[in-house]
Subunit: 189 residues, 2 copies
Amino acid sequence: MPRPGRRDHIIEVAIELFCENGFHATGVDTIMRTAGVSKKTLYNHFRSKDELILASLQQHDGVFRNNFMRSVEQLADTPRERLLAIFDSARTWFDGQNFFGCMFVNVIGEYSDPTNPVREVSRNFKQMLRRYIYELSRQAGAENPDELADEIAILLEGAIVTAQVSGTSGGAKTAKRIAAQLLDTHLPK
Amino acid sequence: MPRPGRRDHIIEVAIELFCENGFHATGVDTIMRTAGVSKKTLYNHFRSKDELILASLQQHDGVFRNNFMRSVEQLADTPRERLLAIFDSARTWFDGQNFFGCMFVNVIGEYSDPTNPVREVSRNFKQMLRRYIYELSRQAGAENPDELADEIAILLEGAIVTAQVSGTSGGAKTAKRIAAQLLDTHLPK
DNA sequence: ATAGAGATAAACAGATCGGTTTCCTTTTTC
DNA sequence: GAAAAAGGAAACCGATCTGTTTATCTCTAT
């Protein structure tokens, strides 16, 4: 049995490197050296680099999900306010040290084959986010929560990629301003 | 002197390969083989792969700019209608055969170093797009064209990345719906 | 204490990477 | 038509890639 914690540590290191430098550009040697682990150990935990990529994406899915939702829920109490707090959470994410855009968007840019499993993982992640927004919309009393969820989700995506390209987090405020307007039309007064 | 047209052809091929398979994953050998050109010729036109990447981005900037703006201007006549037509043009782009997201976003996902010249090229491209939207907003009589331009730009970014991840173009309609609402508030009745 | 699993460092394999060079042919130019 | 430039095919370079193997060491469980 492998020693506990090692696998998670490798994944943790891999996520950072993949986010910062990309997937093809990050070699197995770099990951193993950064993690302070031998190559045999790495390949004892993961059959291939592709499997490590997949495991990293799935781990990041869970971690990001928890952090983001907890952040939103700490910033606001009502569903309506939380829909807006999404963009405040995003803003602090953008301003953080290790912001390199959305890992799931970045990975898709490197693997365009529709049958590549990373694409399904990325789709699932975005669907999860959208479902979260949908639940908030429903709880907030939106007349058409599906429409509102699609709209907020697009705003969030736009803010993320704008922050990634521009290197500033100003887009979060713009997106929040639009979102506030959308809430006024979708939510009962 | 190099034979005319060769350089452009290499760039054309490189753009397609970079968009479809990414930048690190696309080797010089693949580009040269696909372009039907010898390696010597390729390196006669470009000092390095990095220079070819840069030239490809700059070429794509020009081509995309022309195609996109022409498409928008053919779809609508008034500035206000053109602001909405942006999302119709985007939609046909998404539905096209060779849609792999925005090349300038994809390249940034692979090169995070802020001093890398590809980042400046990408920033410039996005600023150009935003300026175009700003001009339309101003011509349409927006009270605050800067705000409106920022908003439309974020909607466009969100639609692009949503289409890339989901593999569908439905986000374009959602973004257009939001844009229409924004125009109602920013533009005089 | 000892057997066995897990870990390490390192060499190794075969392929591919970006880039250069060589030799020869084709094209342009005067 | 001849000199000069450009292109093509392929060998070649050193480095790096993913992945395997070997030999040695260090835990841990009985």
